[in-house]
């Protein structure tokens, strides 16, 4: 469904390398993309996969690759290049149990930090996290839209349990968001590839091979794309890379909120664990507990306004995620300073609704 979402978003280029549990996306794209006017190709490694995608995007095509943690580790160099050159590209990162080769067919939500904090300088990488097949479709479209609008790499952070589970999808209920495309420059003599005309704006794109001369570089550059050292303009260009994303953070925010105004407890989750959390919520409520629930679909930028809303009057916050150290909980911590925050964590298998409910009851009692 993630691949179908990419196709619906107008993706025309895919380069991939086999890895469990992301090979399903690779296979669907190899099968479907050529028939729909695009090009899908096997790359010799993950570094090449993403370089090919970025090259294709520089030529003007919407591009996708899919991988898991070990492959993502190899792609980080090129993710940063895409960020620096303001080249749209989407990476489906289907998590499995790490570290290293880890457990290829075991689910995990252990790549939250690895996905988000993968750039030197700590620039925000938009990350969307689907919890089921239908969300894979919808969030893939949103990922492409934001990648195009912001001219930046975007991650769809799925995992083995979401990506390799067959499930029934009601396609009549699927929402196909309106498609966005990168703003294209009109030929004129004074095209500035990294223009800072508006402080939070995104420069217009010119494709390699078109009428407008392209100057792209992964090195620190000024607005014209020239390498400059010790130039305040270079720092302005760098700041703009973060500003353009921060400016859209609220519009990018995507959650599924189920809030109870009288709740003292808030349960937060994302990805596959949000499904168990929703079931735990029903159980707790049926037993009379007043609990709010927030499933975060856009992990980064952090949906701050939603957090503020969801934590109003709340004393206890629980963050359920299938990793060892509470990666998203740590990312949320600065925004939860007035609450007591508890992690519900586990590795090696799904966190069950029972485990979530039990952990919460232990604190609330």
């Amino acid at each position: 469904m993630l691949a179908e979402g990419a196709l619906a978003a107008g993706c025309r280029f895919f380069a991939g390398y086999p890895i469990t549990p992301a090979s399903e996306v690779y296979e669907v794209m190899m099968r479907e993309l050529p028939a729909r006017g695009g090009l899908a190709l096997s790359a010799p490694d993950e570094i090449s996969s993403l370089c090919y995608c970025v090259g294709a995007s520089l030529r003007g095509l919407k591009a996708l690759t899919a991988t898991s943690g070990p492959g993502w580790a190899l792609m980080i160099e090129t993710v940063q290049y895409a960020l620096m050159t303001e080249t749209p590209v989407v990476v489906a990162l289907v998590q499995r149990l790490g570290p290293s080769t880890g457990g290829a067919t075991q689910g995990a939500q252990g790549d939250v930090w690895l996905a988000e904090f993968s750039t030197s300088g700590g620039y925000t990488l938009p990350v969307f996290s689907p919890s089921n097949a239908a969300e894979c479709f919808e969030l893939a479209v949103h990922a492409f839209n934001w990648s195009e609008r912001l001219r930046t790499p975007v991650v769809v952070l799925s995992d083995k349990e979401v990506g390799m589970t067959s499930e029934v999808v009601d396609d009549a209920a699927l929402e196909v968001p309106a498609l966005a495309h990168r703003k294209v420059a009109t030929p004129h003599a004074d095209y500035t590839p990294y223009a800072l005309d508006e402080p939070d704006g995104v420069p217009a794109f010119a494709a390699v091979g078109g009428e407008i001369k392209v100057t792209a570089t992964g090195s620190a550059h000024d607005q014209r794309g020239h390498l400059r050292k010790n130039s305040p303009e270079v720092i302005e260009v760098l700041l703009h890379l973060e500003r353009k994303i921060a400016a859209q953070a609220e519009e990018m925010a995507m959650v599924r909120a189920d809030l109870d105004p009288a709740a003292r407890c808030l349960l937060i989750s994302y990805g596959v664990t949000a499904r168990a959390a929703r079931q735990a919520l029903s159980k707790l409520r049926s037993e009379g507990s007043r609990v709010s629930f927030l499933q975060v679909q856009s992990l980064f930028p952090i949906p701050q306004r939603w957090l503020e809303r969801a934590t109003r009057g709340v004393e206890f916050v629980f963050v359920a995620e299938e990793n060892l150290t509470g990666q998203y909980r740590a990312a949320l911590a600065p925004f939860l300073s007035r609450q007591q925050v508890y992690g519900i964590n586990k590795i090696g298998s799904l966190i069950s609704p029972k485990e979530i409910a039990h952990a919460m009851q232990g604190v609330m009692a």
């Binding site: 025309r12 280029f13 380069a15 099968r31 050529p34 028939a35 006017g37 695009g38 090009l39 190709l41 790359a43 010799p44 490694d45 570094i47 090449s48 370089c51 090919y52 995608c53 970025v54 090259g55 294709a56 995007s57 520089l58 030529r59 003007g60 095509l61 160099e77 090129t78 290049y81 050159t85 290829a104 067919t105 349990e161 390799m164 589970t165 067959s166 499930e167 029934v168 390699v208 091979g209 078109g210 009428e211 001369k213 392209v214 100057t215 792209a216 570089t217 992964g218 090195s219 390498l227 596959v272 499904r275 168990a276 929703r278 079931q279 298998s349 799904l350 069950s352 609704p353 029972k354």
Partner: protein, 445 residues
Amino acid sequence: MTAPALYLAPDATLPYCRGCGHALVVRQLSRALEHLGVPPRSVVLTTDIGCVGLADSLFPYLHTVHTTHGRSTAFATGMALADAILEPHGLKPIVMIGDGGAMIGLLHLVHAAQLNVDVTVLLHNNFLFGMTGGQHSALSPLNWVTATTPDGNWTPPLDLVALLRTAHASFLARQFATSQELATTIARAIDFPGFSLLEIVELCPAYGARWNQASGAALEEIVERQGYTVGGVEAEMERPTFRELYHHELKSRRPQAPIAEVPPIHSPANLAGELRLVVAGTAGERVQSAASALCRAALAAGVYSTQKNDNPVTQGSGFSLSEISLSPRPIEYTGLESPDVVIVVSADGWEELRANGTLAACGEKTLLLLDSQIDATPAAGRVVRLPLRREANPKRAALAAIAAWLEKDPLLPVEAWEAALAAEPPERRAESAAALNIGRRLACL
């Protein structure tokens, strides 16, 4: 009257050290482009990291993409691949890479050669990493003194031209930077349809020449000692370019069978809440396909399902299993906790369910439907044994077992199975129908 400077700006100040071959290459590249009359906007100069990467600003009318170390070829390949499906097309990526970049990005060169994308690589081989201080590279000659081999290099140098020949590179050439023929050879490489690589042999005046007391004459000696021929085209083999191959491949693709639809039925399912089921057996015995058939039958009757498969990494040996949830409502949590039904049709399946904790999770109410050949007994649960493997045969055992279970516990109407079979490939239908019939019969024993 002079022609307008479309390529190298005539007044360009070249940023290279005195005596550096890179300066000769950019001048000859400009001459080659001029000779070919290539429209500047159809060229993308894709530069690597190192002194070779300084060329971008010297060509004000070409597209320039300055990349990461070693990856220039891969980005250029990506642009060429995209160009292959665009109209109008005709983008010409020219990669400028050094010997250091060529080694860290070796895989990209190999794959570009295999694909035969229309990319020209100008490999500037000056036997070391210049920009970072003259360190040894994989292409340094034997005994070559560098910052990291002060007593001389003792690892044999890589012959990239020979290596890329084995990757089916269609055009390979080697030339001295000082050669009068350089512009002509560059022009031939660019003009060649498909992948071309020209290795340009030069000396780094800052480190190579100084530490090795090497001059132009010494350079000839070095390459001779390495057994290289310099000055000629080493390989020129016309073969279809990537673009031609890809479009040919598209035309000759077999039409794909559309995904079969499961026709909806009008008899409702008899399922009040969520039901969790495990089917386990041996790989290659259609365990997972039997589980899929069940999910399709459920779908026909309007029942939601999730299916998770597991098998050893080898795929075709050992156990094979599917965990299924069925529910009249959308399913949230897909874990098993305590299964309602466990179907085991072989010893491999039994062993795996023991190892993964499924058997221990069975409660008193769990129905365990086992093949008669499994003589072990679980700690809890209602056990029913049927001669599935013997009566149905091993490949039909899982589906027969599902049919037997549903015969006793009719959650799905019979029409649901008809709908599920209609969605199976025609060659499979008779087999599946037989398995279902055997299962139903066994249930009545």
